[in-house]
Point group: C2
Chain length 202, copies 2
DNA sequence: CATAGCATCTTGACAGTGTCAACTCTAGGG
DNA sequence: CCCTAGAGTTGACACTGTCAAGATGCTATG
């Protein structure tokens, strides 16, 4: 922990925090990892950053805007987790795809609240545009890993949908505790990845 | 929907509503379909059922208990959606499995808020026990459809995890608007079901 | 350099939410 | 017939998001 004990030292002047926006996002990430999505509160973020409860309104469009900004940071970490896992082991296309998926699961397990947040926005959200831009780099990582398995002349979205659905569903079901407490057999899902991109059955 | 226009006529006596518990769950489902998860509020449920704001406390353990009870109704409808879709078409094991998955998607698209709710409980929830019992029949439907594809002497959880992860991830990604606005190509996912249960590559 | 503008932050207020305690009412059993 | 326990009400409290109005200090422009 060792962070959060000072709640932002107001060195000299009260006003003009300097980089309040970043501080609020950072505080939000901490609240999220500590207490999950219900703990992510506008007022608590402000308190943790050492400002008054109405200060965030000058940097975000309400609490939804703050959540979107924190999701942006979440997507950044999400992408790094995937790339980090993909860079391990022999760099064959198949192994790299599996690495991306392992990173997907690593992120879901290590930062479950952040994972929840970035996938909590529904299609009808007003911020779906902002989210699309901040999430694009993450999705591109997955797309790139799928590219080698796209048959000539077919739409890449086919393979991407298969891989993404499989790994995302598995991650989601783990987080909702649908596979009992202890056992989380990744093998079935990772094994199915070996079949993806194979020649369709005649 | 011709229901909800009277907000429960208090026929004779104010007290002893009669079946307030069911009325609250019904009101909750309506609120959910009208305004999504954020609209599901204890006080609004009480108002819609025609009782005071503190009445639900005598039937549910706080708002989380109410959400769990509504999720129970959600799981019931979820199971019916899957069974209804599975009963269409020729009753081969493969076609039945696809029907179950089509029902899975039907429910997610037709009742997105209810779908959100039943999968919104995290593994650390205190009600994970209650949820396990109320959701068991739904999951059993999926398990039964997977059974014919489980190779002799192997753990059924392998196939089940593959199928469930695939279809659940796809449903989730649809609801979060990750596949653009209009196009929702179900074919890639349903096609992959044809490969599931096949002999593992030599 | 001075000052006016403006972004930033504070204070105070309000409605909505969940929860608790104390109270009222009704039904049903001794 | 009473009278106890469940069912519902009322009122209060803390917490949340949001808005309006005011205070503050950076900065650009004269």
């Amino acid at each position: 922990m060792h962070s959060g004990e000072m709640t932002k030292q107001k060195d000299k002047s009260k006003h003009h925090h300097g980089n309040l926006r970043e501080a609020l996002v950072e505080a939000g990430v901490e609240l999220l990892t500590e207490g999950g999505i219900p703990a992510l509160t506008l007022r608590k973020c402000a308190a943790k950053a050492g400002v008054s409860h109405a200060a965030p309104a000058h940097h975000f469009d309400g609490v939804e805007g703050l959540r979107a900004a924190i999701a942006g940071e979440g997507f950044r970490r999400f992408r790094l987790a995937m790339l980090n896992a993909a860079d391990k082991g022999p760099q064959t296309p198949r192994n790299r795809l599996k690495g991306i998926c392992r990173g997907y699961l690593d992120f879901a397990r290590q930062e479950p609240a952040l994972f929840d947040l970035i996938f909590s926005f529904r299609a009808n959200s007003k911020l779906i545009g902002d989210l699309a831009t901040s999430s694009a780099p993450s999705y591109q990582v997955l797309r790139d890993a799928c590219a080698p398995f796209v048959p000539e002349g077919t739409d890449p979205v086919v393979i991407e949908t298969q891989v993404w659905s499989l790994i995302h569903g598995y991650a989601q079901l783990i987080l909702t505790g649908r596979f009992g407490a202890g056992s989380t057999p990744d093998e079935p899902v990772l094994a199915l990845l070996d079949q993806i991109g194979a020649r369709p059955a005649p």
